[in-house]
């Protein structure tokens, strides 16, 4: 059924076993983002090692899409540089806005391409982006905190 494009196995796996879902106490920055239309929430922290992302850790409540997307994102971006992370995030954002017309760059996005089906459901795109937007916010804050 068409719904299977949305709820791929890898998404349900991440939903059941979310990665890096434990907030650290020594983050360089920590943010709290909500999806006001459905009440999903994520608290997300970032720790940097120079330009490199040493840790992304989080906690939150929400649907399988928001939780799995955040989990996949942390797996994908930890260990990358801020520049690489930003490029990957842009690719993911582009995929989400593709209205189902693209499959996504599997080399760059890895497991996150499993979320491509979300782009056909306009109401769910915000769910998929919740964690990514929180990361963007936290990484900018962490970066400027380090510079000052």
């Amino acid at each position: 059924m068409q719904l299977d494009n949305l709820y791929q196995e890898v998404i349900l796996d991440h939903y059941k076993n979310p990665q890096n879902k434990e907030l650290a106490s020594d983050n360089d920055a920590q943010v709290h983002h909500v999806n006001p239309s459905c009440g999903d929430e994520v608290t997300l922290g970032v720790k940097l090692d120079g330009e490199k992302i040493a840790s992304i850790n989080w906690d939150g409540v929400g649907c399988s899409i928001s939780q799995a997307s955040t989990s996949i994102m942390t797996d994908l971006l930890i260990g990358k540089t801020l520049t690489e992370a930003s490029e990957i995030s842009e690719k993911f954002l582009h995929l989400m806005q593709s209205k189902g017309s693209e499959e996504g760059d599997a080399d760059a996005l890895e497991d996150a391409v499993a979320l491509a089906g979300v782009s056909k459901y306009p109401a769910r795109i915000k769910c998929a982006l919740l964690g990514w937007m929180a990361f963007k916010d936290a990484s900018v804050q962490a970066h400027s905190a380090k510079e000052n």
Binding site: Q2, Y7, C38, G39, C63, S64, R124
Partner: protein
Amino acid sequence: MSFDPVAIRRDFPIFDRTIRDGKRLVYLDSGATSQKPQVVIDAEVDFYRLHNAAVHRGAHQLAEEATDIYEGARQSVAAFIGADIDEVIFTKSATESLNLISYAMGNAPTGNRFHLKAGDAIVVTEMEHHANLIPWQQLAARTGASLSWFEVTPEGRLDLSKIDSVITEKTKVVALTHQSNVLGTINPLEAIIARAHEVGAVIVLDACQSVPHMAVDVKDLGVDFLTFSGHKVLGPTGVGIFWGRSELLAELPPFLTGGSMIETVTMTGATWAPAPRKFEAGVPNMAQAAGLAAAVKYISNIGIENVHAHEVLLTKYLLEKMSEIEALRIVGPTNTDSRGGSISFTFGDIHPHDLGQFLDSQGIAVRTGHHCAWPLNRKMGVPATTRASLYLYNTLEDCDALIAGINDAQKYFGR
């Protein structure tokens, strides 16, 4: 005429279409907005097609016809809720109606009975829709008045045990919902109205979820102000009702000012026309008022008591079926005593957004999330729920489809 939802469905053209690759539409989201019968669509179209002109002005036939339709709509709505015609005010939505009363109170000068200041109190409840909470939060912030509220019990009822300490001599206004859009709870008004009037406070009733579903007579209820939206009672979007007792409307200052609402105007000031026009600045939503009139006439022909009885039957059926599903928790009263057909629930580990998505794939439309009542969700200990809300065009078949959908969702996400 016996009540036949299948015949009623034929009056609603939307049920001719299918959903998600040919599935029958099971519409269980009337708490968000109702579907429209053809007569409502026709009334709105006919206004534009045949009678369009600005009401209350223009020395021509079309203006006369438009005015007759608009004022006739006011009469129809007044008859539907047992009001006097000049007490019925057209707004763009129930949300605007609630902002109207709260901003109008904020405009009241010293000496006016609606004037609020530090030391005064506004009372709401924990089960309010954001539309009947935030305007009062804002009014409190603007005037220095305090905001207090009735709490909600774990069963989803208002806790009236501390009524005398919630509504006090300081209380100037008590704003509450008639029927919760989340819990389905129909609130007992008698004691609250008696206490409010004892201390000289006015009662503002949010009737968005009651007027479409049960007989509401404003005079019988004994409230002072009442609001509801047109689109939830089979009418068009873009029209709401603000009703107030005439002696109160006479003293309440206006909210929006401009054309149509004046008596005289000079370069430095103006005086107001009497209600309802005092509260209807600008060229109004005439076509939508015509549509709303068609809607309330349509319901009156069927009989609101019959609509209510049908919904009670469906609600009872659904509550019983749901109680048989393990891991399903109803958030709100679990029987039909003082309860309407809005049923919110959680289901095991399946997030409402995912359940709603699965049901959608089966052609079943429900609402998911916090239903614009975030504080209530927190109080009930649930971040979000799935809500099925019933109306006159729903059938037992719809209820069975929902139950089957919930069970299938468990299999789908449990894989």
